[in-house]
């Protein structure tokens, strides 16, 4: 079953893409582009906050969790955005309000970087804040913060301290903004959407893909393909779920561990999935030298199980590395792992891009629906990684791609299956026509054989009847004619001779009529042939016929021979033994049938004139494969014919 499905998915001749496939591919691309554009717009709103951007800033590390007003000398000047900011994560950023700030009607500060614990002090006085005062700080910050400052406190030159806390350091630190609350709000909302709503949405899609593919895997021949996609979806979900576990009771290990594991999983599963897809659906390549084949395509069908194992091993080893790292550094203060995995992901993406483009450039592999999904996913992933790594902004495109990825994939499979069903239907029709033709031919042949058999049977039957006529009635009639010509024939003997001939003819007719059914009926009909003779001789006929059932093997030919033997036996008895009674019996003994004619006459010796008649009977019995047993004594004779039936 599995192999059938695999064959089904392989679908060697995919044929040119249909119009429908192109249209669906175009719709998918259009939707992806629209969503990407939407996300890009939201991201732009997030990036272009309507306020004064604070890029020049001084930062100091707090000694503990609380806020202590530090002297200016404790602060190090810096410029935002800044990468690899700080060794500790209890930070205080210091800046001053300007005259423009003092003119604001409803001043507010936007903290773009993800800090869930943030406090703002103006001239050493707490003016605004968000987050937890007690307990451990959030592990990874998740949300931007927009904090209102009382207008009376915003004076030009006032010192602003922004104290933030989280357990994990930054890849890069984003600028702060000071401006009107309403003007900054749209950026704040956009950032909240990108960091809180979109990940939830993506996690849901990832979970759906993971569950669907995992459940559907046994139904497809290409289990590796489905499982890899499921693992990919799972990784995607894990990564986003990880982002949410910043607060107790989860803490650092769960938050960091799941996030990095999800990230690593995506990096490993993506190439795994693409290799599966391109290999499963690849057309058979011409036979090559195994080594050459391996160099050209190390992921051929037999090796794909190993690929799955290797992928899972990589995941396991990666997970163990992350776990080891977390065991002594739950905060993972430096961003080494993130960086390493990021590069790994970029490498994987490049590999996938090359492979998928090469795959779809091969003749006969055009499947615009799948291609649209794949190329977009890969491009979006590269764009996102590049954006995060080089442009220091948030990546948003992969989210759009992932939304349509499973949809496009399912549509592609559906199209593929439809094409295969159509091809199968056409093949089945062709086969049906072929079978019908064959059937007709066979019927014709069969009929011809039957006709021939019938003709042969009729011919045999005819020649048998001719032989019978020749042996019996023909000879008798000729004898009568010859005798009549030489005037040796009395009227009486002419009549008896003719009667005998007619009797013989009736015997033949009876044998033809009764030979098809049962010996019971055949012998029943025979009674009319011998009873008149017995009556004429004043001999009582004792008729002991049992029902022996159907005897299909005893045809007209054998029936006639049995008749002749019995007639001969009867004639002998009447002529030579002078009995008072003749008994004819028929009975079945297992698969043998016994027909016997017994008289209570004086018996006969072998030397008597009956000898020729006996020899005749024996010959006839032999001819039909029957056994003839003759017992004769002074008190009677019994002639028994035994035959298989």
């Amino acid at each position: 079953m599995a192999s059938n499905k695999l064959l089904m998915l392989k679908s060697e001749p995919l044929g040119a893409p249909t119009r429908g496939a192109w249209i669906i591919a175009a719709i998918i691309i259009a939707l992806q582009l629209a969503l990407s554009a939407g996300l890009f717009a939201i991201n732009s709103i997030a990036e272009s906050a309507q306020g004064r951007q604070i890029t020049d800033i001084a930062a100091a590390e707090a000694s503990g969790r609380g806020y202590t007003q530090l002297p200016d000398s404790a602060f190090q000047p810096g410029r935002l955005p800044r990468e690899g900011c700080c060794s500790s994560n209890n930070l205080i950023f210091r800046t001053t309000f300007t005259a423009d700030d003092a003119a604001l009607a409803d001043p507010a500060i936007l903290i773009v970087s993800a800090y869930d614990n943030a406090l703002i002090y103006v001239d050493g006085q707490l003016t605004a804040g968000v987050g937890r005062a007690e307990g451990p700080p959030p592990n990874m910050g998740r949300l931007p913060q927009l904090l209102r400052i009382p207008r009376s406190l915003v004076d030009a030159g006032a010192v602003v301290d922004i104290a933030v806390q989280r357990d994990v350091g930054f890849g890069h630190l984003r600028p702060f903004y000071v401006g009107e609350y309403t003007a900054l709000y749209s950026s704040f909302r956009a950032l909240t959407f990108l960091r809180q709503d979109l990940p939830l949405f993506n996690a849901a899609i990832g979970a759906f893909v993971a569950a669907f593919c995992f459940c559907a895997a046994p139904l497809f021949g290409a289990r590796g393909l489905m499982l890899s996609l499921s693992a990919l979806g799972g990784s995607w979900t894990l990564q986003h779920v990880g982002l949410y576990l910043t607060d107790p009771p989860w803490g650092g290990v769960a938050n960091n561990g799941l996030y990095f594991l999800g990230f690593l999983g995506a990096c490993v599963c993506l190439p795994w999935f693409f290799i599966e897809w391109t290999s499963v659906l690849a057309r058979a390549m011409p036979k090559r030298e195994p080594f050459v084949a391996f160099i050209l395509d190390p992921w051929q069908a037999p090796a794909r199980r190993r690929l799955a194992v290797v992928s899972l091993c990589m995941l396991a080893i990666g997970a163990m590395l992350i776990a080891w790292r977390l065991s002594f550094d739950p905060a993972i203060a430096s961003q080494d792992i993130n960086r390493v995995i990021g590069w790994l992901g970029l490498l994987a993406m490049t590999f996938c891009l090359v492979r998928i483009i090469a795959f779809y450039m091969r003749p006969g592999s055009q499947d615009p629906i799948a291609a649209s999904a794949f190329v977009f996913v890969v491009l979006a992933a590269i764009a996102d990684i590049s954006a995060v790594r080089f442009l220091k902004t948030y990546g948003v495109f992969l989210g759009a791609a992932v939304t349509f990825f499973p949809l496009a994939l399912l549509l592609s499979l559906a199209f593929r299956a439809r094409g295969i069903f159509e091809a199968a239907t056409a093949t089945a029709e062709k086969l049906n026509i072929l079978v019908a033709d064959r059937e007709r031919e066979i019927t014709r042949n069969h009929e011809e054989i039957r006709r021939n058999e019938r003709a042969a049977m009729l011919l045999e039957e005819r020649s048998r009847i001719m032989r019978d006529m020749h042996d019996g009635i023909g000879g008798q009639l000729i004898g009568l004619i010859l005798q009549a010509r030489s005037h040796k024939l009395s009227g009486e003997s002419l009549v008896s001779g003719l009667e005998q001939s007619l009797d013989d003819l009736r015997l033949v007719v009876d044998s033809l009529e009764q030979g098809e059914g049962s010996l019971t009926g055949a012998l029943g009909a025979f009674r009319n042939r011998i009873e008149p003779r017995c009556e004429a001789a004043g001999v009582e006929l004792d008729w002991k016929i049992e029902d022996v059932g159907a005897t299909p093997d005893v045809g007209p030919d054998r029936t006639l021979q049995i008749y002749r033997i019995l007639l001969e036996a009867c004639t002998n008895a009447l002529k030579h033994s002078a009995p008072k009674r003749i008994a004819v019996s028929l009975r079945r003994d297992g698969n043998r049938i016994e027909i016997a004619l017994a008289d209570n006459g004086c018996g006969f010796s072998d030397g008597a004139p009956a000898g020729r008649g006996l020899a005749n009977m024996r010959t006839r019995a032999q001819g039909i494969g029957a056994n003839l047993d003759i017992q004769t004594s002074a008190v009677g004779t019994r002639i028994a014919l035994t035959l298989p039936a």
Binding site: E513, Q514, G521, L523, G524, W543
Partner: protein
């Protein structure tokens, strides 16, 4: 019978002149039988079928058609007529066909005068002559029809007793012997055989209708 007649009126339809004359002689000589008419073709035989006819002796192989047709017509026109088929061999196939058309018995051609007269008297007296061959042929036909997927099965199936009687007759047992075997009178055996003949005719008609419907010759409305 509408009017009591001292003599049974017999019509003979036989194309062979010698046999015809032989039969005519038998009828003429026999006490209580008289010739109503003699013909050598089916067409001429039709004119003989008229009220007051008691017995029809008919050959099956006639120059202008099969005697079975005339048997059917005669049975329809004169329900009480006794019809006897004259046959050379008394072969089951043709005799059974004649019985299905409505014949009451058969007579072997070339039988002695006495035998022929007895056969006619026996049928007139309500007898139903049957040969073992005919009996076994009827049995086979009934069996075939009962097991046939194609046909409707016999409308009027034989009773168990009738089948038993027929089976023994097919084995070659005479009326008397059958009667003794079953503990009934020979007359009852004859009654059974007549009943069998009637059923055969009825079944044959329904079978003909069935086959005609199958062939699309007749359309039945539900």
């Amino acid at each position: 019978m509408s009017q009591p007649s001292p003599c049974a009126r017999v019509a003979i339809v036989e194309d062979d002149a010698i046999l015809r004359e032989d039969l005519a002689r038998v009828v003429t000589h026999a006490e209580g039988l008289e010739i109503a008419g003699v013909s050598d073709t089916l067409a001429a035989g039709r004119t003989l079928i008229a009220p007051g006819l008691d017995v029809l002796l008919i050959d099956l192989a006639l120059p202008d058609g099969n005697g079975v047709e005339l048997i059917r017509e005669a049975r329809e026109q004169l329900p009480n007529i006794k019809i006897i088929v004259v046959s050379i061999f008394g072969d089951a196939r043709s005799v059974v066909r004649a019985i299905e058309a409505g014949a009451d018995g058969y007579l072997l051609k070339g039988a002695g005068e006495q035998q022929a007269e007895e056969a006619i008297r026996s049928v007139l007296g309500g007898g139903a002559p049957i040969s073992p061959a005919v009996a076994s042929h009827i049995l086979n036909r009934m069996r075939e029809r009962a097991s046939s997927q194609r046909g409707p099965g016999p409308d009027v199936p034989l009773t168990e007793k009738e089948t038993a009687v027929l089976t023994d007759l097919a084995k070659g047992f005479r009326y008397k012997e059958v009667a003794r075997l079953h503990g009934i009178s020979p007359h009852t055996v004859a009654d059974h055989v007549k009943s069998i003949y009637r059923k055969l005719a009825v079944n044959s008609r329904s079978e003909a209708v069935f086959e005609a419907v199958q062939a699309g010759l007749i359309k039945l409305k539900d």
